[in-house]
Subunit: 758 residues, 2 copies
């Protein structure tokens, strides 16, 4: 079937407003009498608050409220903006009489200016009773360690599963390799920090304008944390300057709300970059043990994985990330025998939570490094080794979480092999010998990745389309545009199915007062889930319009179809009337005027796997340890591509994020005090546009039967396999196995020297 809008690159619906600076982000909302919020943060990583004196701060002119743990509801909540039910224990209070990491919130101020609010913070006197600081999971799990959250033994979550007989599998193998991999704490670095503006509307309802991915989940959690019913809370998501999972968290809104409830005034609470990088959210650092048994022909027989995840001071999405790691572990390289053990540990460091790929980046770095190490031991081409063992077309997920009804992995591998000129380069680089100062290498990695939200939680999208009298339309979405182009692709679907122009559609993004329920920008689900809801609503709309046209032309709907804005006779193809004119006539039909509103929801539980591969060519400077990327090939099977330019944009961003994870990014925390050293963008080395290498993006378009147009996930996948591909290219270049990310020059140089010196 030929589409007019779907599958085409069309301009973003927010393009003009964004390039002209008219698009409004939270901090652009100014309200009369608005106050500025600031948070007093703990200078110690673990302590009880013995005394807080806010007297001097309150006395400062211009200060309207100073609140401490004594002023807030004593209701624990889970900060994960997770679909229902909560992903983790309810371990957080809006403010508590205990601090659990250096930077934890102690008190908050609302004042007439930012400066006054900052001055007020300095006037708050706090007496801390310090507690032992636990930075590593090992310390936290040690016998007799102080409990960061009472009754937890510092375990945020743990689970295990197995299939077959993994020990028997190892015994039956010709070769068994056991290794440990480590991944760093990194952080989202959204251009826009966490920021929200709360106020009371004329009915004293709480309005929360916030930079969030999950407006409805956030409303549910606010409702619980503040003991208000949902009708009393309105959440508005304006334009969002990046989320990447960090804004699938309820980091500050309840505190912001309390400042408004205490003062009756609008309060803007905007994190500084330095605050954001400590009190925002991070990606869990992990220690992953992988053990694999293979036959001498390279066939994997058994595999076990043990992972320790450091969740920091509060759970956030917590152990759900390790759950996701476990589920993906079991499906990528199916073996007859496998076992998994995962644990998430509380420590006194900044809070880890959801971040783009939700654990798959950590898993993939370990797994794909391990695969190359294994291939090397077996003296096999790592690409061939993967071909032999990876999930095949039609092969089922042994755990049953995912479906594999549209399979493009083999083709992704083939395309990468071809585009990167894999075989020739492997041979050439190997032949170049070991003595060059700048060593060339090529490596690759691949992934499979889910589409929808975490299994066991609610999965739902809805959409409403309302036709104006003149045939233009309003599309109401609960799914969140956070920069990725959500609103644009949804409008494409409406244009496609209703038969009006893209310019005829006004998209109303998330306002919980106005938009239908949707769990939001979570997983890589929106085009898949909400796209289906939009399609259903649009089809309903078209059917109603065609039905009325059939009355006009004294025929039956089955004889008509919509083509390029016209309702046509199906047989002859004759154009009878435009869709727009039909809507006008239906609306102003005096006998039985009618308005076309179509609502649809999509709640199906189906989680299809996307696939992809990254190939990387690098040059390693053996004198400095610096890894230069010569070229990257990023190939993805995300099913059908609905908007090629937006899809490519997703890949570009994901590649950069993967590069940072692989080469330079890590939040450095003092192992004794828990202090974060580099919570700023000067010392924290994220990859920027200056670092982007030559990059070739390709799509393998399978057709996912459960997707509205054969589409499945692409939001998160592009960041997954970049780091291990680079790491494997470095291995190819240097012969050295780096089992810890990131491959900073320092780390590379040290290890290269160690390898040379034995």
């Amino acid at each position: 079937m030929k589409h007019q809008y779907v599958g085409k690159t069309v301009p973003r619906v927010d393009a003009v407003s964004k390039v002209t600076g008219k698009a409004r982000f939270v901090a652009d909302f100014q309200m009369p009498g608005m106050l500025y919020g600031k948070v007093l943060r703990s200078p110690v990583a673990h302590a009880r608050i013995k005394r807080i004196d806010t007297g001097k701060a309150k006395a400062l002119p211009g200060v309207k409220a100073v609140i401490t743990w004594e002023d807030v509801p004593r209701i624990p909540y889970c900060t994960a903006g997770h679909p229902y039910p909560d992903s983790s224990r309810r371990d957080t209070y809006i403010l508590d009489n205990k601090v659990r990491f250096m930077g934890d919130a102690v008190a908050a101020v609302a004042a007439e200016t930012r400066e006054i609010a900052e001055d007020a913070l300095k006037l708050i006197e706090v007496e801390y009773e310090e507690l032992p600081v636990l930075v590593s999971p090992e310390e936290a799990l040690a016998e007799g360690a102080v409990e960061i959250h009472e009754g937890t033994k510092n375990i945020c979550g743990q689970h295990q599963f197995a299939q077959g007989d993994v020990e028997a599998g190892f015994a039956a193998s010709d070769y068994v390799l056991e290794e440990e991999f480590r991944t760093p704490i990194i952080t989202h670095c959204s251009l826009e920090t966490h920021v929200s503006l709360t106020y009371l509307d004329e009915n004293d309802r709480l309005v929360v304008i916030t930079s969030t991915q999950v407006p409805f989940n956030l409303r549910r959690i606010m409702s619980q944390a503040l003991e208000m019913n949902m009708k009393q809370i309105r959440v508005i998501k304006p334009h969002v300057g990046g989320g990447f999972g960090g804004k699938a968290e309820v980091v500050q809104e309840p505190l912001n709300a309390v400042l408004t409830l205490k003062t009756g005034k609008p309060v803007l609470l905007e994190y500084t970059r330095e605050e954001e990088m400590v009190a925002g959210r991070t990606r869990h650092s992990t220690v992953i043990k992988l053990k694999t048994g293979v036959t001498k022909e390279g066939r994997m027989l058994a595999q076990s994985m043990k992972i320790i995840s450091n969740t920091g001071a509060y759970a956030g999405h917590g152990h759900a990330v390790v759950y996701s790691i476990g589920s993906h572990f079991a499906v990528h390289y199916p073996v007859p025998h496998f076992s998994f053990e995962g644990i998430s540990v509380y420590t006194n460091i900044p809070v880890a939570s959801a971040m783009r790929s939700y654990g798959a980046s950590q898993l993939n770095f370990a797994m794909e490094s391990h695969m190359d190490n294994l291939a090397r031991k077996l003296n096999m081409d790592p690409l061939e080794f993967r071909r032999l063992n990876a999930i095949k077309e039609g092969e089922k997920d042994p755990m049953g979480y995912f479906v594999n009804n549209s399979y493009g992995l083999a083709e992704c591998l083939a395309k990468g092999e071809e585009l990167s000129n894999w075989k020739t380069k492997r041979e050439t680089f190997a032949a170049a010998g070991a003595n060059q100062k700048r060593k060339k290498g090529i490596g690759m990695a691949c992934y499979c990745y889910e589409t929808t939200a975490y299994c066991g939680a609610e999965e739902m999208s809805a959409a409403i389309i309302r036709m104006n009298e003149d045939g233009t339309a309003v599309l109401y979405l609960g799914s969140a545009e956070i920069g990725q182009g959500n609103d644009t692709v949804m409008a494409q679907i409406v244009a496609e199915e209703v038969g009006i122009g893209l310019e005829d559609i006004h998209v109303i993004g998330v306002d919980t007062d106005v938009c239908p329920y949707d769990i939001g920008a979570y997983a890589s689900r929106q085009l898949y889930m909400c796209g289906m809801a939009v399609k259903k609503a649009a089809v309903k709309c078209r059917e109603m319009i065609v039905d009325f046209a059939a009355q006009l032309f004294d025929t039956i709907p089955a004889n008509l179809e919509v083509r390029q804005g016209w309702i046509c006779d199906k047989l002859s193809g004759n154009r009878l009337i435009t869709v727009k004119e039909t809507v006008w006539k239906a609306h102003y039909n005096m006998d039985r005027p009618r308005t076309f509103v179509a609502e649809a929801y999509h709640g199906a539980k189906c989680n299809p796997l996307s696939y992809g591969a990254v190939f990387a060519e690098v040059e390693v400077d053996t004198g400095t340890g610096k890894v230069d990327i010569i070229k990257l090939w990023s190939i993805h099977d995300c099913g059908k591509v609905v908007n090629p330019q937006l899809a490519e944009g997703q890949v570009h961003g994901g590649v950069l994020m993967g590069m940072g994870f692989g080469l330079s990014e890590q939040l450095l925390i003092d192992p004794q005090t828990g202090r974060t050293y580099n919570n700023n963008l000067l010392d924290y080395k994220m990859a920027t546009m200056m670092d982007i290498p030559e990059l070739e993006v390709a799509f393998v378009e399978t057709s996912e039967p459960s997707g509205a147009y054969g589409n499945k996930s692409l939001g998160e996948p592009p960041c997954i396999s970049v780091a291990p591909a680079i790491r494997n290219a470095v291995l190819n270049a240097t012969g050295v196995e780096f089992n810890e990310a990131p491959l900073t020059p320092e780390r590379v140089l040290l290890k290269l020297k160690k390898a040379v010196n034995g």
Copy 2:
């Protein structure tokens, strides 16, 4: 059937926000960079604009735009915020090169402050070429009169109809009375003048925050006048400080929009009271000739009516008001032979248009005065004379506009008779003799009145209910809360039908981006039309909820029912689960989560008649001519009353408005120059709370089969029969027939003297 919410007095949903001053009206919206609009008004009543020089005005610092007819689209539109199609000719330009009444818009300014804008007006130089000024319809219709609108012969509209043979009817009568009645120009005197705020949103869409009764009609007309599609225009109706028909007009919004389009800035355009009373809207003044033939027993055989209506400089709702007069004329006192002739005439005076009762007040003053005069000639009790001739139960509208399926007129008359102690007073006052200085009298009048919008135009309402996850709900309305309590009664219906509490419902009033289509606060239709849409949506919602509950309890929906917030087993009455918990469970049902959204529209064409009667006891000071109202009884059959307190409030307001029309209000216009003398609330004598007499309100609750709960119109009716009831009481007191309203002391005194002096 017993109702929990419907039929009960519950507090208004906007009560708290209004009494605390939090409720926002248009002028409460402040926007960054907002400009203030002002309009230059014509100092002459009829002229061509030969030259306008805006140079000096534009040069004034702080002035951002000065626009004249040369700067606006040359698209004529109809200012009536009428449902589709337009009620009158498209005779208005945003600005024109001709002025047609003293106060007509000549130019407009947008400036940084109101003061600068006012100063700028004075700097605009205009040269007028004056034209003959036509103030009365007689002048305007005279042979050779200059045409105010080209090609119209100054006729805005005219129509006639007849049934039977009216001349034969007169010939067969024992007695024929022919009289002329006159009604004044009055004006709405809404507490809030016309005011709007326009701005461009981040997508350069035009947003119009305005004090309107008809947001969707206004959008349609703006779309036409500005040549923009509907998607590009958003109309928001915040709280409205009174409409009474004057805000069923698009008086200023297109001009306001042009100021925003020229400057790119938000512009607030707020009429002063003095402007409002000239450039707002008025009630058509009329000259009504009534001729009636009766038998000596008092049975009416034939009746003819001729009406000349002065529509002023532009049509506005124009001749539609006379149409409405004609349709009501034919139904109130059915006679075998009747004829009607109506004409609406353009003149050079302020624009007349819709006003509460839409012509029925003029008709009723003439008809009910005429009825008393007739009864007097026949020496019959005027109440008995009406009983004999008025429409009876089941009697059909000869013209077929209205249905009479719920009839309470006879009971209204009986109740008024009883409450007012009619017979005794008629006897006592008559016996008191003619020589007292203060003469007592009792009089009455009655009416029948339509419910929905004018026949021939679109009639549609829609409503959407969205259940939040916790069972609270949002109700989206296109019908307009303009102070009458619309949002409250609609919320009552949702609470009633869905089975949640009134406090669980958040009502979102009219925002064309958000709310479903509705033709607005037009006629007395909202509770009747939109109430039905709300009921349908609420029933759908309940059915979906009950359907899910049936699944939960493994039964069929037919076995369940909702009682007081619970879903109960129908047979045993056992409470199974609350409605709210059911919604939560459905929403977070992992297998098939679902959200409950129900939309319904109501477009049925049925226009039921409400009935009522007013009885008035007065005392006339023969020395000053002042009429004091001792007591009023206001009795109405509006079908079932949904909220008694709100209904009584409607009656209170209507009575006051009717008193003003009968006793004191009239806009005085110089017959030579067309100048309005008393366009301020000091010289224009509206009735206020200080003037309210002892007032007894009663309802005769019939059950209208086409109403959601047996209800029909009450919005307009209470103002209709007040003036003639007072007038008839004065007749009873003095024996003098006053055939022109208002009965000012001056007029009463003059005529009393004339009567005494012969």
